[in-house]
């Protein structure tokens, strides 16, 4: 796309901070994700990676700094020089365009795979059921689960559930996909099938932010890699460069344990 808006980065964080009470989880995070690129966020647990994702999707509200998605300020509305907290309705409208995939899938257990996928397009976007079903079947085929549309989540393996979850997020036609440790709850032999789906998605030009411990995936798919620890960005850059040549001591220590 060569429209005027393509210069605006999909996600831009400028000194973003977030604390829960006195616990400062994010300390002045600054990073940029250009349109169509894949950013991998790595780091030890408790480093603030997930919180950062949740801030992008309005599940948490930032305390300081500016966070924009597609040029639009997240969590607040700017009128004049004042910031106003968003009404739930406005926040919901912004969330629609951002797909999110969770570590524990969070599929709706009382709905079949296809019902999970068509729920939001029908209820939120007001798409007709027939059209939503057609689209859902396409998406299920895309994640390799065409024959599982009538299966309940309890009857699917972890990897299959996560692929349905990805299809569910894609059904809203998001411009940005957030992955919060999508393979961490999976048996080792099921990780590959989910990563394959994500890789295809990245190749199709989707802008993605992926919190992951899969360094192989980061090296192969990501355009840039950010290493976080203790709520700050310790190191960032080209994935291959950061992974094979970490400059910071903390990064070296972490990678030596993970790789």
């Amino acid at each position: 796309m060569t429209t005027a808006t393509s210069d605006i980065p999909m996600v831009h964080a400028d000194c973003v901070s977030k604390s829960f009470g006195s616990n400062e989880v994010l300390k002045s995070i600054s990073l940029t994700v250009p349109r169509g690129e894949v950013l991998c966020l790595v780091g030890p647990s408790g480093s603030g990676k997930s919180t950062f994702l949740r801030c992008i999707n309005h599940l948490e509200r930032v305390n300081a700094g500016r966070l924009t998605v597609d040029g639009v300020l997240v969590g607040y509305e700017e009128r004049g020089d004042k910031l106003y907290e968003l009404k739930p309705k406005v926040a919901a409208r912004q969330r629609r365009d951002i797909g999110m995939v969770f570590q524990r899938f969070n599929l709706f257990p009382h709905m079949t795979a296809i019902e999970n996928i068509i729920e939001a397009p029908i209820r939120v976007k007001g798409i007709k059921k027939e059209a939503a079903v057609v689209r859902a079947r396409e998406l299920l085929a895309r994640v390799g689960l065409a024959e599982k549309e009538d299966a309940y989540p309890a009857h699917l393996s972890g990897g299959q559930q996560q692929r349905v979850a990805i299809a569910r997020a894609l059904a809203m036609d998001p411009k940005l996909m957030l992955f919060d440790e999508p393979t961490s709850a999976l048996d080792p032999e099921l990780v590959g099938e989910v990563l394959d789906v994500m890789k295809n998605l990245a190749e199709s030009g989707m802008t993605m932010i992926v919190v992951t411990h899969e360094m192989g995936f980061a090296r192969e798919v990501a355009d840039s890699l950010v290493f976080m620890d203790g709520g700050v960005v310790v190191e960032s850059g080209d994935p291959a460069e950061v992974l094979s040549n970490p400059k910071h001591k903390r990064t070296q220590a972490f990678l030596s344990k993970v790789l």
């Binding site: 919901a92 951002i98 969770f102 969070n106 939001a120 989540p153």
Partner: protein, 336 residues
């Protein structure tokens, strides 16, 4: 034979106890429990003695029991008892859901009001509350609708409210407090991730509740609600406090006051209550069975349910000739 092979056949024989080389079943002398038998015999004897004695005791007045058990006034009273139960439970469930949502609200005042309601209605006896409702018309002569401290637009005299509806109000407002806690427990039992997933998809709070949270909370809410219905049926016997006296217990007391024989009428009322609770218990059993099924609410699947992770007959080498007792991993049978 190499070592790993012999190790493998050892695991095989433990996996397949009915295989070709299975040992004969153990025949051992059963352990006796003499005291267990003694206690059982004593209990049965006591019960038999009680029944024989009761059937011959004049005070029970079995002739009057037989005369009144299907008396028209009694069966009408049973109808009133059922109506009291049904109306009260319907109002209590609606009010209970409202209170539960209020208690989960972020607004401290809304939360506080719901808490206050629960505090008052759970903290005072239902009997006392029913007496209060009986005196409602004495406390509030009229219900005024309008702007406070000005002449009301509409005015209803309260003595028009029948005792039956005062009883329903009294029972339901009390029950709502308990229903609120049941509904709240149900809503809280749903994983927080469900709420987040729905929110992340852009669903509103109402949509999330109606489509995602409540359907899952029902599994937790239904069984205790069944208990509450049974409990309500029995609590209706307290409406004499209002005083409403056309219910099962009230009518029995009235009849017994006329024939100067209270005991057979108590038995009549008890028999009706027992019959109703028995029916409700059967219903409860089926409801619980229906709602305690696996999280997936196993709708039978036509194509079978391979989980994809574990291939069928993992690790079990089927010996030839043991065809009938092989694969335990048949698709679609995990939920036996």
């Amino acid at each position: 034979m190499s070592q790993p092979d012999s190790g493998r056949s050892a695991t095989q024989s433990t996996v397949l106890p009915n295989g070709a080389g299975a040992p004969a079943p153990i025949k051992a002398i059963r352990l006796r429990h003499p005291w267990r038998n003694v206690v059982a015999v004593i209990l049965i004897l006591m019960l038999a003695l009680f029944i024989i004695d009761a059937s011959q005791r004049d005070a029970y007045g079995w002739d009057n029991f037989a005369k009144y058990i299907f008396d028209k006034r009694i069966s009408q009273a049973a109808g009133y008892t059922l109506l009291l139960t049904i109306y009260s439970m319907i109002i209590a469930i609606i009010l209970g859901i409202t209170l539960a949502v209020m208690r989960l609200s972020d607004n401290p005042v809304v939360k506080g009001v719901a808490w206050l309601y629960l505090w008052v209605f759970r903290g005072t006896p239902i009997y006392v509350q029913l007496v209060f409702w009986g005196l409602f018309a004495t406390i509030y002569k009229t219900i005024d609708i309008g702007i406070p401290f000005t002449t009301p637009w509409l005015q209803f005299p309260t003595d028009f409210i029948s005792v039956f509806w005062l009883a329903v109000i009294g029972l339901s407002l009390n029950e709502a407090a308990y229903m609120a806690e049941i509904v709240r427990a149900g809503i809280l039992s749903v994983d927080k991730g469900q709420d987040e997933a729905a929110t992340a998809l852009g669903m509103s709070w109402i949509q999330t509740m109606r489509r995602v949270v409540i359907p899952q909370a029902m599994r937790i809410i239904i069984p205790p609600t069944g208990n509450e219905v049974i409990s309500m049926l029995k609590t209706t016997s307290l409406v004499a406090a209002v005083p409403f006296s056309f219910d099962l217990y009230g009518r029995s007391r009235d009849i017994s006051a006329v024939i100067f024989d209270p005991i057979p009428l108590l038995l009549v009322a008890s028999a009706w209550y027992l019959a109703f609770t028995s029916i409700l218990m059967v219903g409860q059993y089926f409801l619980e069975k229906r709602f305690s099924r696996g999280v997936g609410q196993a709708r039978p699947e036509k194509k079978g349910t391979e989980t994809g992770a574990i291939p069928v007959t993992t690790g079990i080498v089927v010996p030839p000739g043991a065809g009938g007792t092989d694969t335990t991993d048949k698709p679609g049978k995990e939920h036996r």
